[in-house]
Symmetry: D3
Subunit: 134 residues, 6 copies
Amino acid sequence: MATLGLIDYPDASPEVRAVYDDIMATRKTDWINNFWKALAHHPATLRRTWASVKEIMAPGALDAVTKEMIYLAVSATNQCGYCIASHTAAARKAGMSDAMLAELMAVVGMANETNRLASGYQVEIDERFLTKRP
Amino acid sequence: MATLGLIDYPDASPEVRAVYDDIMATRKTDWINNFWKALAHHPATLRRTWASVKEIMAPGALDAVTKEMIYLAVSATNQCGYCIASHTAAARKAGMSDAMLAELMAVVGMANETNRLASGYQVEIDERFLTKRP
Amino acid sequence: MATLGLIDYPDASPEVRAVYDDIMATRKTDWINNFWKALAHHPATLRRTWASVKEIMAPGALDAVTKEMIYLAVSATNQCGYCIASHTAAARKAGMSDAMLAELMAVVGMANETNRLASGYQVEIDERFLTKRP
Amino acid sequence: MATLGLIDYPDASPEVRAVYDDIMATRKTDWINNFWKALAHHPATLRRTWASVKEIMAPGALDAVTKEMIYLAVSATNQCGYCIASHTAAARKAGMSDAMLAELMAVVGMANETNRLASGYQVEIDERFLTKRP
Amino acid sequence: MATLGLIDYPDASPEVRAVYDDIMATRKTDWINNFWKALAHHPATLRRTWASVKEIMAPGALDAVTKEMIYLAVSATNQCGYCIASHTAAARKAGMSDAMLAELMAVVGMANETNRLASGYQVEIDERFLTKRP
Amino acid sequence: MATLGLIDYPDASPEVRAVYDDIMATRKTDWINNFWKALAHHPATLRRTWASVKEIMAPGALDAVTKEMIYLAVSATNQCGYCIASHTAAARKAGMSDAMLAELMAVVGMANETNRLASGYQVEIDERFLTKRP
């Protein structure tokens, strides 16, 4: 029921197909998930969002599975159902085991708890944490 | 200005000191940050929270720096000022470089963006993402 | 499955019917959506919430479609499924085109991204933004 | 640095003073906190917001201290600095002890943790929780 | 469709069964809800989470129904579908009436509104709210 | 105290200066606010973020002031202090009056309230809102 519907490959314009092709080539897969098919109604958003995701998620100082786990940690914190489902799959594909998933969720849960304790108790930031680095 | 004030080591009860001692020993440091000094007004919360953090943050299927980066990713998503400051410091201590920090923040930012695009466009979860594993 | 169930017009008390009548008259429609039917179990909440919505959403310094788009932007940020569905419909009725929807979502996504970059990097507010106006 | 500045009693219009007077009378106090002074720039918002708060926070099926604690729980979850400070004060005035504050924060922290575990693990709602009541 | 599936009692290890038994004994019930069955894939998380919930939710300075209502207030603020469903049921079992539920939701709604007004208007914290207690 | 410090124009690399120049030219201003100076430590993030903001915020189906108000609505909902301050300034520059600001905040507040009422009462989406468009 995506707001504007989903655009499948056969129905896509050449501009949209070019993005779909790059997504499949980059991810070494033969299908496009609904997120991109929904964005395809606004090709500028599709193109820009994919270009950013592609650049950001490429291995660099952090490897692919770490990046996917951070993505999943954010999605679980925001409680985005679609994103949790898709990035759990992506993280698994990148190498996340069940044990890694469980430890990830434990950290996410704990961080969400202590974030509220720190704010709720109005804890001031320690001087040491404020020091600007040279 | 923590709601109930901060309890320093010399003013702490033996029960609180025991937790402070374990924090310093575990973290190989000689000071206690304000978060714990604020919780110390309710020793049961101090004890339980530290025990959970200690267990969850110990290296396991995920190493220490990855866990600290996930903690920071959650804190940045929730925009908890105290937590961002303290866990940026903790992640650095565990080995996060400036480049790793920058890539972490890029992923956090992107995930927060696409979380809203997925929800805002009412994208339904792909059948493939729903398959229960055997 | 609304917690307290939904109250349809024929089953409503005169107090609730009066609110339903005003909703339909104000919106120039002949039906009541589930949100109000759920609130109807607590007439004081129904009456107060509708009175506030009616006053706030009336055209003033901002026109109706702009107000509905802001409502939708908030709902997408909070990822409230019901609210996204109902306010997408309301914004369309008020004149939001597909192109406007797509640009709205692009802004919502970007704002959610830079909100976390600003907080995550602990950026201090510029002096110029703090100046109190005379 | 409130965006539009703060309006003190001597500078307020009769319409705004009437609200200020009702706030002070209802709360049995002789001052107005900054929140209302900021809203005073838009008298319709000031009037409507105060009328809603006054009605909602009056003792009913829930007593005053319980309502203030719920307000504080929401504010801590949202990490609203102003609101945590003002509603901690309000809850204390209504009778919240240090022990009650500590238990409140413990529940808030835990709920924020398990909210993410439930969402992160994609737990489906139990049939028993879905049953509509007769 | 819980990410790792659900573990029912007959399929559970002795370690997991021990936690299940304690949950049922503590809650005076004969079934386990899906949340715990999902966590059971990582026994350390199951054990620690249950131990924390059991300790935090036990009546103390706050009674059981107040604690459950605070839990529900947080879950409604975070819009966690599973948690709203399960804690509405838990709060009812602890004594929350329909009228209490309605007043709770009214406070939750109002607090979420004024949290944004306070932040959106950039209201500075009143001096009186900052005073550290002796 | 930005995590990695702030990079002023004279200290910036040619790559960073090129972005700064484009920001100033696009915005018809002669200064750079702290947000960009913080991102400048990671030129790829600076470049990509600015390119996206520039593209998204350019007038299209929505005009500049509407886009800035939506940005502000998201920032107020997320309670991002830096973003509220900077986008209040940007929206004013684009033409937002005090009356428009006040109506914007009223909508933001109300939307945050009803989002929680809809979720908290577990309201199911109306059939009419689900209909896929042809």
